[in-house]
Amino acid sequence: MVTYTDIFSKKERVEDMELYAGAGDVNEQLARYGVKFGIYKNNEFKEQLFPFDVIPRVIDSKEFDYLEKGLKQRVVALNHFIDDIYGDKRIVKDGVVPEEFIYAGSGYLPQCEGIKPPKGIYSHISGIDLVQGKDGNWYILEDNLRIPSGASYPMIARKISRRSAPDLFTGKHIEDNRNYADLLRRTMDHVNVGGHTVILTPGRYNAAYFEHSYLAEKTGAHLVSGSELIVENDHLYFIDYSGRKEKVGAVYRRISDEYLDPMNFNRESVIGIPHIFDIYRKGNVALINAPGNGVADDKGIYYFVPKMISYYLGEEPILSNAPTYLPYYEEDMKYVMEHFDDLVLKDVAEAGGYGVVFGSKMTMEEKARFKEMLQKEPRRFIAQEVIDFLDIDIMEKGQLLPRKADLRAFVLMADEPMVWKSGLTRFSRNPDSFIVNSSQGGGFKDTWVLSQ
């Protein structure tokens, strides 16, 4: 178990706090740069600042080496899994993953059957959520292989913190996390089939619009909306102001599968590009991340990831899942019913901290209703042991207060898997809550990975 207080001496910590206190408000600087996320409340769009806490999560180099190995292993296996599911389906035929967990899930897209994306990469950018338990062990909470967001926040926070408290960074041997844009560019260029690289955004009313625009600026890719792209003669083009058509070879799309192409998915989508999926199928454009990845990051599939690692790589999983039960299996259903109060239940169709309920926090009536629902729809939920997260200090009004926090690590797949030496640490601002999502009022921290 390693924390900020373990790594740095008391004297250093006191000095650091003084430096932060004297450095002005980093949040003020983040506001200046419009570091916000959008949310809809009562059908109205509102932009909110994403509260930043100055005390970083610190991971020493040895511990990060371990995480890096485990994360690479996991993402490589997940790529194999997606390739297999839309190909030979060996893992199903061999009885490792039941087919109900694949074909009944909303993440499986039959349209992707038989498609091989450029360079065989499906999950170019993976956001893997982990927590550290009080026992010091790291546990994977979920894999995000569709369009994981969040890297831009620690990236810009680091830039501002270095400016506002430069002495804080002196002599600490912290890996520079401002290289995320380089890693992303390398990832996009690796699969580009020829032409421009663009970042496709649903527009400024998307929750992560700041990130779309910031990553476009920092990678030098063009930020585009669906109306600026057109498919013609089996290729994708960007139409410039003079009407000239410029070929596009890679699209880092920040819109979900269902809205990507109205001719192949949701017909009512007005933000997608008609026929883009058809030319992707022909190998004439790279889509980052590949459509159909949802089949591998479904909360139900999560249970099987350690088995995938053994199946595809013949290795023991380096990183552990949180202990998880699938009520789909009779034995697990029995356990869930008997230990209901000790478990957290997650609806596999939900994300962003929604659809998560703690057995211990339900009334008797709610429990009875939930158990009935569980019996009727066992495939819909997973149950997990409540991990006693390691608290991380945040600074509030000059006081250090313990809060629950997770870590979203980013794994990028170019010619080799790369783990960004940082990550988004999200924390709950509510002392009684485990929910860290920004949409539910959580804040964020920088993540320092030490180089020695």
Binding site: G34, Y209, S213, S227, E228, D240, Y241, S242
Partner: protein, 224 residues
């Protein structure tokens, strides 16, 4: 030269127009406000007429508050600043985060000015940020085409405003000369015939202001 879409061309042009509109109307408001302090309570009525905006204000106090700060008043300075912001926020990769930050700061300054007991001092911070924005745009944006699109918007707006205020012809001629030099460099879609007509109008001894407003509004983009 990078690639740039029709939408972004339009946004850059309007970013230039709205930032200029906010800057100029704050300056004009300041001088009218000064007159209203102890010379003429009803000065705002003449101002509304010159700007072709409906006089929906009940008093000089009502005008000062709503015209500057009400987001429900579509003609207010704040509404125009938010239009500048709406264009800027989708241009981060074209103009850069540092340049964009000054529009963001202008919005924060406007929010502060709205609750200040000395709104003119607050508004000064808004104009300071707009000037910084233009300075950054000039200095920090590599792509000359992007800089020129913003400047074309700014100059069109300035001629439009000067004409509405019936400013002296020489003042308008200077802006027309600057626009003529700039507009080709921007590579924007515009009507050379209308540009020539604007130049003809501003050279007349008795400048026909209404015709000038009409022409300059039709110079660029779809309205040409």
């Amino acid at each position: 030269m990078g690639i740039i879409s029709v939408e972004n061309t339009d946004r850059l042009y309007w970013l230039g127009r709205y930032t200029e509109r906010v800057y100029s109307t704050i300056k004009i408001f300041e001088s009218r406000f000064d007159t209203m302090i102890d010379v003429d309570d009803l000065e705002y009525k003449a101002f509304c007429k010159s700007q072709d905006i409906p006089n929906v204000y009940e008093s000089k106090e009502d005008f000062s508050r709503k015209y500057c700060f009400s987001l429900e008043d579509e003609n207010s300075i704040f509404s125009n600043l938010m239009r500048a912001y709406d264009n800027a926020i989708v241009l981060r990769e074209e103009i850069g985060s540092d340049t964009l930050s000054y529009i963001q700061l202008a919005v924060y300054a406007m929010n502060q000015a709205a609750i200040s007991k000395a709104p003119l001092i607050g508004l000064q911070k808004v104009t300071d940020n707009l000037v910084a924005f233009w300075g950054m745009a000039d200095d920090d944006i590599d792509e000359s085409q992007i800089r020129n699109m913003i400047k074309v918007g700014k100059l069109v707006e300035r001629i439009d405003l000067y004409a509405r205020l019936k400013e002296p012809p020489e003042k308008i001629r200077r802006e027309a000369r600057r626009l003529t030099n700039r507009i080709d460099k921007s590579t924007m879609r515009y009507s050379p015939k209308t540009m020539a007509y604007v130049n003809y109008l501003v050279q007349l001894d008795d400048v026909p202001y209404d015709a000038l407003i009409d022409s300059v509004e039709k110079l660029v983009g779809d309205s040409m």
